[in-house]
Symmetry: D3
Subunit: 124 residues, 6 copies
């Protein structure tokens, strides 16, 4: 795959994952560092998310889990929206957070659940 | 659910997840702390893994991801075996690790892939 | 211990640990996920904090330390209040944070001390 | 080196690293814990930053990297200002964050880049 | 306190904390970096552990907790020995690890319990 | 840059960074996952390390720091060799670890120093 195609593939996946307003918000990054923006699109979404073998809902299960584990709660907000958009239900997301409790402890799980509650409310 | 039932439910899930020799190995814990062993069975497996809404294969996607993210590579070995046992393919596990690269960086992903390679060889 | 008793035991410990307004604040969790709330009460407080062998002040020494180490500063606020309520002095809490410096580095210690300063002021 | 001299050496390095208003802001710590303040000055800046073998710009490369890796974004703001003050260019800081992407993943790198963008704007 | 005195104070605390053979083992560090060795003695043990307000048993509760939380299992071995030497019982150490489960998850707690089991056996 | 060129650029940087036997050792990864191997070469080394604005010695300062901070000690061994190969002195590496002490605490710094001591001995 050539680089233009990697970038295009990334943009296509991003459309599947994120609502328009989330994608707009992401462009603040483009102003500070067009190169990191391009890497996030071409490598993050083009090379990684565009691959086969796992579906986008499976990929979002993985993404939510790693973000909760590393305490990256700002990015968690964005990927909770993506998770809902690619078809994970509210109940499955809650269940994922409950499952994580045994692996990351209550503090991170409870903080994640609070954020999920906010995103669910915004999406009602 | 009463406590006996929580414990029984946990043991039942553990049978679905782990081969006999893995479960035997886990019992070293029981000798040091019967109470932590009971909590792992009753809460970890009984309360968490026995719940509905997510399948065991989805739960192992989550578990593998959190273990890779926190660098818990000893436990990763055990859950790679569980992942295979509940039906994730070698290709899906490799794909999960590749997906994680964008979230945890190459060092942890490469270390996880090395361990996965060992487990795959043992299971051939 | 049956499940009702685990829950009751948890609520009893929570009364010892947290002022009324803190416990009210925690109930936001109950609206998003009654199940995670129940686990936090029954397992977190009922099964863990209600045990013997370590006092509640010793348990708060442990809790504050793990929260500082993992950078869980939102939960730190809540447990700084618990620490004061179960009898740790302001001086002991400051000393704990200073001791942690050698183990977690200055950035987390300094951030924790700033938060402790705020909680001390609110409690004057 | 006697203790007075360690403290003085620390204050001298802090003048090289931080603008006056940053140093004033740091003194909130002094009110909560004069002892942790003294350790930060005498050990952190006096014993560590005053050493030879690495320049202050090299030390800030190291400091920015460890703060991004541990997700200590509040302290990152302060050291982004220090990095600029001791002579790292905006381009070098952006490059450091891009390099980190392969080691810490996109979420922390993107969050760091957003903060760097704010600091660059304040310094224009 | 002058620097010689800080170093002496550190060595005195280390004698209280660690058996002779542990202290000998630590001296490998001295060969690679005499300066880091001196900082560990003077700052780590002299400035931090020698302070008042918390007892050595309280300090070891804190140290064990931060080591388990950050997954620093090599250093955990050394401080499990120190914990026993300053008077924490086997039961209290087991209890500390159980308490941590709710905060760090089962994988780290179970790994810590395995190591504790080994240290207890060596000390029988 | 097309994908072939990204891969070639990555291989060229890897030759500058790692001795032949280290590069051979890395190829174990290629057998488990040729795709992750290609990403490590093309993205990790081709896209990231081949960029300008920071020298390879500056990039190794950054890499060593993030590896120490996240406790990735296996990968640390490999990059200690790279650091020496691109021209960092033994003294500078020791100094980097000492500087990190204030940011990551003594346990990780001391473990890193022990590993550095082994690598230095092998390279004598």
């Amino acid at each position: 795959m050539e680089n233009d195609k990697r970038h295009e593939a990334g943009l296509r996946v991003m459309e599947e994952l994120f609502p328009e307003e989330v994608r707009s918000g992401m462009k603040g990054l483009k102003n500070v560092s067009p190169d990191l923006w391009d890497m996030a699109v071409s490598f993050g979404f083009g090379d990684l998310y565009s691959r086969e073998t796992l579906s986008l809902t499976q990929r979002e299960l993985i993404t939510l889990t790693t973000l909760i584990t590393q305490g990256a709660f700002d990015q968690l907000k964005v990927h909770l929206q993506a998770a809902l958009k690619v078809g994970l239900s509210k109940e499955q997301i809650i269940e994922l957070i409950i499952h994580c409790t045994g692996y990351v402890g209550f503090p991170k799980a409870i903080q994640a659940m609070g954020i999920a509650g906010e995103i669910f409310k915004e999406n009602e």
